[in-house]
């Protein structure tokens, strides 16, 4: 899937770096939304003294960067070089997997207990990243949970919600 679709308008071919354009638009959209939210919360110099100039600056920069995502391809040119190093084969799924696991871990840990969630998280990550030695797959998460959770609960007096071990945590 080409990340730079090309359109032909008039006699010219235009290439659009879609992923980058989407990303920078998302950032600019947040900035605009934030400015608007702050405005609604309190319309006053005191509230907006930094936010408004910064948001305005963000908008200007957005236009500059967005414009750079759109290139006119001169005729008779070979397809222009890709804007970014392409990801190594197989990396994309690993990276998305890592992100998804992290999100799942963050959501589940307080619900199901940090001990169980951490164990499962580390185990699944190890598998995703290619670890196949059974000893490592079992020992590393177990040791981690034991040591870390002991330290946090006992030494640092910061209670973590746990499933399998007693605690005063909420």
């Amino acid at each position: 899937m080409p990340s730079r679709p090309q359109l032909t308008i008039g006699g010219r071919t235009i290439a659009v770096d879609l992923p980058h354009l989407a990303f920078v638009t998302a950032i600019a959209a947040w900035c605009a939304w934030f400015c608007q939210d702050a405005w609604r919360a309190q319309k006053g110099v005191e509230n907006l003294i930094l936010i408004v100039p910064a948001s305005a600056m963000a908008m200007i920069l957005y236009i500059v960067v967005a414009a750079s995502c759109i290139h006119i391809v001169p005729p008779q040119d070979h397809p222009p070089a890709a804007p970014r190093r392409p990801l190594a084969p197989g990396m994309a799924s690993k990276i998305i997997g890592t992100m998804a696991l992290l999100a799942a871990y963050v959501v589940c840990a307080p619900l199901f207990g940090f001990d169980v969630a951490s164990f499962i998280y580390i185990l699944t990550m190890l598998l995703l990243l290619g670890e196949r030695r059974i000893l490592v797959l079992v020992l590393v998460p177990a040791l981690f949970c034991a040591i870390v959770i002991y330290c946090f609960n006992t030494l640092l007096a910061t209670p973590l919600p746990l499933l399998l071990f007693p605690g005063d945590a909420a």
């Binding site: 919360a41 309190q42 006053g44 005191e46 509230n47 007096a157 007693p166 605690g167 005063d168 909420a170």
Partner: protein, 326 residues
């Protein structure tokens, strides 16, 4: 959570067969004191004092947990989410922070969500100016403000009793909020540093905090109905007589133990146990000495009077909230 409660219940059941009857009553495990402010603050230090002296009377250890954020809102919200079984008690300067949470920051609780045990340590507000400013009396300052509206600046800790009192004073004198330049700070400490450095012209704030910067400031009036030995300055309403106005005197920083209202309702005996242990701690001469050494108070005023103080503060804030709200 359920699983843990089952285990605890099972354990308690088992234990109650071998343990003498009186040990089966509340509290059966350590009690947590929740402080919705930062470690090192006055409420936190007071809580640690209790953790040192109260276990003797309560029969269980006490652990201090700090959860600061949003002017006490974060910690207080968490506190109300805990079971109302008395094992979590909050120690906080209930006013002005809880009324501010409710009236300004839109907390999801109301005054009725709580039982305020005892206004143990109450502060008052005081009017201070940096030493290098020319005004020697409160009247001089007031006249200066009237003579040059919009030129004199004051530092306020947003939402504090000092802030409310400043607005109330201006309002009573018939001066609009633009009569002074209001400089808002993120906390009393930052504000006091600015005052000490002469960055602002005057400040109405907590008297006990003023002790830190006493070398840099001059007090002009106290917001009480009597003189105090620490500062030889007139009560504010005496000064204001000359202007034919007066201001309401709102208490500052009322530190008290707090329980969710449901605890006293559902477990009145356990609540009474806590209060008895608390009073015994206050009566302990060693603890009183500790309080004195740390410049804290250990007064007993009782629950009713405490509720009245807090209610009065709430009403005061409600009246002036439009002057301080964004």
């Amino acid at each position: 959570m359920q699983r843990r409660q089952l285990l605890t219940a099972a354990a308690a059941l088992a234990a109650s067969h071998v343990v003498p009857a009186h040990a089966a009553s509340w509290p059966r495990r350590p009690v947590t004191i929740l402080v919705p402010f930062d470690v090192g603050g006055s409420a936190d230090r007071l809580a640690r004092g209790f953790a040192q002296y109260m276990p003797k009377y309560l029969g269980q250890p006490l652990t201090v947990v700090d959860r600061a954020g949003a002017g006490g809102l974060i910690g207080t919200t968490w506190f109300l989410q805990q079971p109302a079984d008395g094992y979590t008690v909050m120690l906080t300067p209930a006013t002005p922070f809880i009324p501010v949470n409710i009236l300004v920051t839109h907390a999801h609780y109301t005054l009725d969500s709580f039982t305020f045990v005892n206004a143990q340590w109450v502060d008052y507000t005081i009017l201070l100016v940096p030493k290098d400013r020319p005004w020697k009396t409160a009247a001089e300052l007031i006249d200066a403000i009237r003579a040059a509206p919009g030129k004199i600046s004051t530092g306020v800790d947003f939402g504090s009793v000092g802030h409310i009192t400043t607005m109330a004073l201006l309002d009573a004198l018939g001066l609009g909020p633009d009569a002074v330049r209001i400089v808002t700070f993120d906390g009393a400490g930052a504000m006091r540093t600015a005052l000490a450095g002469g960055q602002v012209d005057f400040n109405i704030g907590q008297a006990e905090g003023a002790a830190f910067i006493s070398g840099f400031v001059r007090p002009l009036a106290v917001f009480l109905d009597h003189r105090v030995p620490d500062y030889d300055v007139p009560p504010i309403n005496d000064v204001l007589k000359a202007y034919h106005v007066s201001v309401p005197l709102i208490n500052g920083s009322v530190r008290t133990f707090v329980f969710p209202a449901a605890f006293k309702a559902k477990h009145p005996d356990d609540y009474a146990t806590f209060v008895a242990a608390y009073r015994a701690t206050l009566d302990d001469p060693a603890f009183q000495k500790w309080l004195h050494d740390n410049q804290m108070a250990g007064d007993w005023v009782g629950e009713e009077r405490t509720a009245a103080i807090i209610r009065a503060n709430y009403d005061g804030l409600e009246k002036y909230k439009n002057l301080i709200k964004p």
